[in-house]
């Protein structure tokens, strides 16, 4: 099957080393995006599909190193003038539709619901018999009341949230549950020295601050994009443990240096609702041979047994388990290796993309 994988400019793109074969066409194998569109393209490719990846990213004429700095600036300016973003997206999607004419593909895959306008989605549906979308947020359970106007153009919808799938099925959509996985680009990672006993990598939400404050600051190390100097005024005891921001490959390297990774699994889109999802860290940490203490979710336990991934439900349990596992490195390593083996044999993105192909059943 011949696939067109589409993505527009995302904030995380500027931290990746994207390689382009032409202005908007990427060499996703060389790009080695472990957590971007490229990992899904690569997964499809490994699932024996014919894949072209199109990235609607501006400044197509200039080399990526300069281009990504320009994109970073553009994204910053767009935060101050949202019309710029609207124009940029509209202009680049129009270019994409123009590029598409005269080309033939069997299927379309994207991770973005609102990039195309409904008339553009209408046009897309004339080009592609199969239009698949895989979202790591949950339409119907998040603040996006008009999602159905966009979702109706997709023939196959995949969500990481089983409750969200139920909701979409009840509304008549062709929805499937598909948990996250590990990037096939991470299967050859090496185990490295781990100087950080306890670590957290991620965005700070209200319940996460309470969680971080409960640890010994000498052992705790955390990396967060939104821990600012103002935040350290509010939480001075965390300043000593804060190690900065990490993106792209350096995030994986940092994760590999943590002995026990704390992994709260809450998805921000849920806005306080109960969620039951896996997250990226569940799999990325295993790619880096790092032991995780994950927040308990039934979805995670469906994939990993208790002797593979340890979980916690509340802070005292987490603290007790962190203390226990810091003192039992061999048990930790055994669990990581077992969980990693399981991921390599059935939970890579190539497996997930194969599941998508199988569900489409041409």
């Amino acid at each position: 099957m011949k696939w067109l994988v589409f993505g527009s400019l995302q904030a995380t793109d500027v931290h990746m080393d994207l390689c382009f074969t032409h202005e908007c066409l990427t060499d996703f194998v060389s790009s080695r995006e472990y957590n971007g569109l490229g990992t899904f393209s690569y997964g499809l490719h490994l699932a024996d599909q014919d894949v072209v990846e199109y990235r609607a990213i501006p400044f197509a004429q200039i080399p990526w190193k300069i281009r990504r700095a320009s994109c970073q600036w553009l994204l910053e300016l767009e935060r101050h003038q949202p019309k710029m973003m609207e124009e940029r997206v509209n202009s680049l999607t129009t270019d994409f539709l123009r590029w598409l004419s005269g080309r033939n593909f069997d299927a379309f895959f994207t991770r973005e619901l609102f990039t195309f306008s409904p008339p553009q989605l209408e046009e897309l549906s004339r080009h592609f018999k199969v239009r698949a979308i895989w979202l790591s947020w949950s339409p119907g359970r998040a603040l996006a009341s008009n999602y159905a106007d966009y979702l109706k153009y997709f023939t196959h919808i995949y969500l990481i949230d089983p409750d969200g799938v139920e909701l979409l099925l009840r509304e008549g959509f062709n929805a499937y549950y598909l948990p996250l996985g590990m990037s096939d680009f991470c299967i050859n990672s090496k185990m490295i020295n781990k100087p950080y006993p306890i670590g957290f990598i991620g965005t700070i939400y209200p319940n996460r601050m309470q969680l971080l404050c409960s640890f010994n600051s000498k052992l705790l190390n955390f990396w967060a994009p939104n821990f600012e100097s103002d935040t350290s005024i509010m939480y001075p005891e965390l300043t000593e443990s804060y190690r900065g921001r990490v993106w792209g490959q350096s995030m994986l390297t940092t994760m590999g240096q943590v002995e026990v990774l704390i992994n709260p699994v809450h998805r921000s889109y849920m806005m306080g609702k109960t969620d039951n999802v896996t997250n990226f860290r569940n799999f990325e940490s295993l790619g880096e041979y790092t032991f995780q203490l994950s927040e308990f979710k039934p979805s995670i336990r469906e994939i990993f047994d208790e002797d593979e991934v340890a979980t916690y439900s509340e802070i005292n349990e987490l603290k007790d388990k962190v203390d226990y596992f810091l003192g039992h490195p061999e048990e930790r390593q055994k669990m990581v290796l077992k969980a990693r083996d399981k991921v390599l044999s059935g939970h890579l993105y190539s497996h997930r993309m194969k599941a998508i192909v199988d569900s489409i059943n041409f």
Binding site: R88, L92, N226, S229, T231, I233, M234, P236
Partner: protein, 140 residues
């Protein structure tokens, strides 16, 4: 526990809180200022003249913040930072009470607002130059 001599604490809040958030924060305030009276105000709704008169009666001010930074909530605190002479505290939505360092906060707010202003001008200029004049849009 924070001591308070005059026992009148101004709670400065421009946020819309739900009942449960509000109750949690009042628990923190009562615990930290057990012998104080509280007076809740909104800077947006208080005239300059009234501020001058009322603030003389306050021993301390506790400013409520919705997130993890101070600079984005400057409307709720700049007047206290500049004009209020007594002790200043902050309280965030998680119930974390902290000292509000006057000089740092003023610097942080000024830096943030200046950056916002400059980027806003640049963004509008770029929009006019590269997008507004072109029907198809030139950011490619």
């Amino acid at each position: 526990m924070v001591s308070s001599d005059k026992n009148i604490i101004c709670v400065s809040c421009d946020l819309k809180l739900d009942d449960s958030q509000s109750e949690n924060l009042w628990v923190v305030l009562r615990k930290n200022f057990p012998h104080s009276e509280f007076l809740q105000i909104s800077l947006n709704e208080l005239r300059d003249v009234d501020y001058e008169v009322q603030s003389k009666k306050w021993d301390s001010v506790v400013v409520l913040f919705g997130g993890y930074n101070i600079k984005r909530y400057y409307k709720n605190c700049w007047k206290h930072l500049v004009f209020f002479k007594g002790s200043l505290y902050g309280l965030n939505i998680e119930g974390r009470l902290f000292d509000l360092p006057r000089l740092y906060c003023i610097q942080s707010i000024i830096r943030f607002e200046l950056k916002k202003l400059v980027l806003g001008i640049l963004a509008n200029l770029s929009f006019q130059l590269f997008v507004g004049k072109s029907k198809s849009g030139d950011i490619k």
